[in-house]
Structures are given as structure tokens and as C-alpha cells.
């Protein structure tokens, strides 16, 4: 691909950080329900991608690798956390904002709590589909599951979140 920039590992980290860091942290927050943990997960993922750059070499592959790593590590963190504090998710820091159309802090928490209650795969599929807007095939390959499984997790997840939707409107 002639248009692909020939980045070295350091440049790849810088470029992908600039364009995707915030988005990836937010993705991880949807998965792990905690900002600090999400930041760690994403940092670790960038470090891991740096180590793999020799085999990735391409920004798209780098991004795909980052996404997959963030999801895997988020899952691993949850599994780890489940031993100590299964039902006591860490509180999200209070945020003050003037966002009129957005949900209030309370509503956000409801959504994150609802996500947190979902089985891991449903939560992951919802986040990848509705937050990152990935295609079914991309979700399947990111999670290592079949497209059929993506569909069924998505529809169950949507069903679980639907009550919140009604509240919102």
C-alpha cells in the first residue's frame, strides 16, 4: 500500500495516541466501569502495540490490535477484580458539566451500571457495535467469536438496555 505511512514503532504510538487514545479509554470505561483502570488498560495496550509494531507495521492493523488488546485486557481486569470485589464496582468520579442534552451524572451511572450487569460478551459486543461502530465481521474478529454469536449477544444486550432507552425518551 503506497499510501501507508512508514511509521516506526514510536511514531505509530504517537499517531495512534493522538487520534484514538481518548476513544479507547472511553471504550474501556464502558467495559471496566472505572476510569483509572481504563487508563491503565489503554496505556498497557499502547505499550504492547509498540512491542508488536514490527509485525503490525500498518496503522489499521495497529488500531485493530489496540482495540483487541483493550478489550482483552479489560476482560482480564474484570476477571481479576471479580475475586476481590465482585459486586462492588469502583465508583466513577463525579463529573460536573453543563451538557444539557446529555444524560445527567445519575443517568450515566445507570447506563454504566446496566452494562456492568451484563454478561461480558454482551457488554463487549454492545460497546464495539454501538460505541466504536464496528461491523459485525470486525466485532467477530476482535472478540474471536462467530458472527452468529455477535448477532445473538447484540440482540440480548440491546434487549437488556431497552428499558433505559424508554426512560430516556
Amino acid at each position: 500500500m503506497s499510501t501507508t505511512p512508514q511509521w516506526d514503532a514510536d511514531a505509530a504510538v504517537d499517531e495512534l495516541y493522538a487520534s484514538h487514545y481518548r476513544r479507547l479509554v472511553r471504550l474501556s470505561v464502558l467495559l471496566v466501569h472505572d476510569v483509572e483502570t481504563a487508563e491503565e488498560v489503554v496505556q498497557d495496550s499502547f505499550v504492547a502495540m509498540h512491542g508488536r509494531w514490527r509485525t503490525l507495521r500498518d496503522p489499521e492493523k495497529g488500531l485493530a490490535y489496540l482495540r483487541q488488546t483493550v478489550v482483552n485486557r479489560s476482560r482480564s481486569v474484570l476477571r481479576h477484580r471479580s475475586v476481590q470485589a465482585r459486586h462492588t464496582p469502583l465508583p466513577l468520579p463525579d463529573q460536573h458539566g453543563t451538557d444539557v442534552d446529555a444524560l445527567s451524572a445519575e443517568r450515566r451511572r445507570e447506563v454504566l451500571d446496566a452494562l456492568h450487569e451484563l454478561p461480558t460478551r454482551q457488554r463487549e459486543v454492545l460497546a464495539l457495535r454501538y460505541y466504536l461502530d464496528l461491523s459485525e465481521a470486525e466485532i467477530a474478529s476482535t472478540l474471536g467469536i462467530s458472527r452468529g454469536a455477535v448477532k445473538s449477544h447484540a440482540s440480548r444486550g440491546v434487549a437488556a438496555l431497552r428499558p433505559l432507552l424508554k426512560d430516556a425518551s
Binding site: 487514545y21 470505561v29 488500531l63 482480564s76 481479576h80 446529555a102 454492545l126 440491546v158 430516556a168
Partner: protein
């Protein structure tokens, strides 16, 4: 590359539903307030170190498979489906892999509360032989054993020669009555010295044992000792305290390095759940596989009936790399079969596989 926010809708996005836009907004809004701290500086600091030491921090600590195979042990957080620590959790065993970066790898100590009431126990990696489509190969289990001194190597190698594996598909090829221990302070510090003794004759190959079986039996102890020691120091075998030209007919005068993983290890392992485990659904299956194109397929069987099947991918292809997947099924007794795919379309040897009998409890 553009900021990811607000990408165009994908043409091949999953079929639109009436709630899609609402869910999208719900998730966007739920995290829209989050402005992460800038961490480019700390990423740089870590990637510099990383480049120098040529290490990678992947969540299983495996600067990939080589480390996973060599030092093995640790990186695996073994949890049963209900989140309780599996008794086989290597928490009490050696605690960190040389390649694992403690700042990025969930450390085993944190994975479960240490059991202070049984300080004399430790968890050690133990390799066992098993039949595969490509001959006798090694699989690994974690065994919780009484600590012998505080040397995991002695506990592990002794376990390997004298106890039966949990998985009935595996075996130890060492004759009954064999014992093994590490000899501390023997030879140079760069060599692990393992003394073997047996009620029977183990210098030459017993009749009825194939040469391959004998070779794997020796590799079993090399891999076990190195895994417990978390090193790749060559192993010097002694027989009843003295040098021996052979063990089971395998030349052992010199310290031996481990054989190539490709030739010695079964290429698909299920690590958790263990054979005979009781789990509650959903539960996570994890293991290591050096699978063709990293593809790992699995089936949950009851008798000849396949109840569930799916596939996943290991983190890398062609070298022992972590994989995991989630399984849910009604309570009952099952056989879990995990294998790689057959690149030859049936013309080559059958795929690698590992099976575990498990019980899903309500």
C-alpha cells in the same frame, strides 16, 4: 488518521434495529464526560524500556509463547467459573515470570487472597505425557503439593515422577517407586541438578517402553524443573546421587537443555478448567495453543452429542499463545474438547487437542 469521534455509519454494520440510534446515544453519553489524563509521556517511558529489554507486556505476561512455555507457571490466573480461586491457582507457587512486567500484569498474588492457613502447601507446574495425533507429547498441570523445603523444583519434579496426573488422558512414564529431588549447591549455579532414585531399574530403557516414551519422560522432568525454577538452566541428572550415562536409555552424562517445544509439547492445552472441575455457567476456558492461523475450535459434548461449539483465536499463531473463551450450558456432565484446525483438510495428522471432563453445576 482522523479522530475517531463521529465515524460514518458502516455499510456492513449489523442490521439496523429501531433501538440502534438510541443505544448508540446512550453509550456515547455515558462516557462523553470522560477526559482521560494525558499519558503519552508514561507510554514513552515504558516503550523505551521495552525496546531495550525486548520485552512485551501482554496480559498473560507472555512476551509470548517462548516465555509462556519456558517459565510457564505464572501468568495464568486460574479461576473457576464462579470467580473463586481454583485450588490450583499458582498463587502459592513461584510468583512472577521473568518476562512479566509487574506494573502491567495482574500479579498472581493479587488474584486471590493467599491462604495463610496452609503455609506448607505450594502450587507447582508439572508436565505429563499424553498421546496425540503426532505421538507422545507433554501437557502441563498445576498441582498443589506439600512444600518440600521451600524448593518448588523438588516438589515439582517429585510430583512429576511419583504422582498421577489429574487428567486421565495423561500419564507419567516413570516406573512406580521413582522419586526425584533437586540437589542444591551441586555443580555450577547455572545448572539444575536433579537426583533420581527408583525402586526399580531406570538406567536403561525398560522393556515395553518405546524410545519416544523414554525421551519424553526425560523431557518431562527438564520442562518441569525449568518451569518450577522459572529458568531455562540446563538440567544435570543424577541417578541415586551419582552421574549416570543414561536414564531410561536416554543419554544424560551432560546437562540437558529442553527439547524444542514444537517437538516436545502438545500444541493445544486447556489449562482451566482442570479435569473433573465443577464450574457454574458461564465459565471461562483458558489455555495455550500453537494453532494453525491461531484458530482454536472447541466443542462441548455429552456422549456423542455436540451440545455447543464455537471457535476463537489465540493471541498469536504458530507458537504457544494464550487463548480464552466463555462457555455457557445447562447443568450436567460434559466433555470439553479444544483443538486446532487442520490445515491439510484431513490429509495430514489429526488436529492437536486437549479434552477435559467437567461438570456444570446449577
Amino acid at each position: 488518521m482522523n479522530e475517531y469521534d463521529g465515524p460514518p455509519r458502516r455499510a456492513d454494520a449489523p442490521g439496523p434495529g429501531p433501538d440502534d440510534e438510541g443505544i448508540r446515544r446512550l453509550l456515547d453519553d455515558a462516557v462523553s464526560h470522560i477526559e482521560p489524563h494525558d499519558s503519552l509521556g508514561s507510554i514513552h517511558a515504558r516503550t523505551k524500556v521495552s525496546s531495550m529489554k525486548r520485552k512485551q507486556s501482554w496480559f498473560l505476561g507472555a512476551g509470548a509463547a517462548v516465555a509462556a512455555v519456558a517459565a510457564t507457571v505464572v501468568a495464568v490466573t486460574v479461576l473457576s467459573g464462579d470467580g473463586t480461586p481454583d485450588p490450583r491457582d499458582p498463587v502459592a507457587g513461584p510468583t512472577s515470570s521473568a518476562d512479566a512486567d509487574p506494573s502491567t500484569t495482574p500479579s498472581p498474588e493479587e488474584s486471590a487472597s493467599p491462604d495463610v492457613s496452609t503455609p506448607a502447601m505450594q502450587t507447582v507446574p508439572v508436565y505429563y505425557a499424553g498421546d496425540t495425533s503426532r505421538g507422545v507429547r507433554l501437557y502441563r498441570e498445576f498441582h498443589r503439593t506439600e512444600a518440600i523445603g521451600d524448593d518448588p523444583v523438588t516438589a515439582a519434579v517429585n510430583e512429576a515422577v511419583s504422582t498421577e496426573p489429574d487428567d486421565q488422558d495423561y500419564r507419567t512414564s516413570w516406573p512406580a517407586g521413582t522419586a526425584a529431588a533437586r540437589v542444591e549447591g551441586a555443580g555450577t549455579p547455572d545448572v539444575l541438578t536433579i537426583d533420581i532414585s527408583s525402586a526399580g531399574q531406570i538406567r536403561t530403557r525398560p522393556s515395553g517402553m518405546s524410545q519416544e516414551e523414554a525421551q519424553i519422560a526425560v523431557e518431562q522432568l527438564i520442562y518441569t524443573a525449568q518451569a518450577a525454577d522459572q529458568s531455562r538452566k540446563p538440567v544435570q541428572f543424577l541417578l541415586d546421587g551419582g552421574r549416570t550415562d543414561q536414564l531410561l536409555g536416554v543419554p544424560t552424562s551432560e546437562p540437558l537443555s529442553q527439547g524444542d517445544a514444537v517437538d516436545v509439547l502438545a500444541q493445544v492445552w486447556v489449562i482451566d478448567p482442570a479435569e473433573g472441575a465443577e464450574v457454574s455457567a458461564p465459565f471461562t476456558v483458558s489455555g495455550l495453543a500453537a494453532a494453525f492461523e491461531a484458530n482454536v475450535v472447541w466443542e462441548l459434548r455429552q456422549g456423542d452429542t455436540v451440545v455447543k461449539s464455537d471457535f476463537t483465536t489465540a493471541e498469536e499463531c504458530c507458537t504457544m499463545a494464550p487463548y480464552s473463551f466463555e462457555v455457557t450450558a445447562p447443568p450436567g456432565e460434559y466433555t470439553l474438547v479444544v483443538q486446532d484446525t487442520d490445515p491439510s483438510g484431513g490429509e495430514g495428522p489429526a488436529p492437536w487437542q486437549d479434552t477435559k471432563r467437567i461438570t456444570i453445576v446449577p
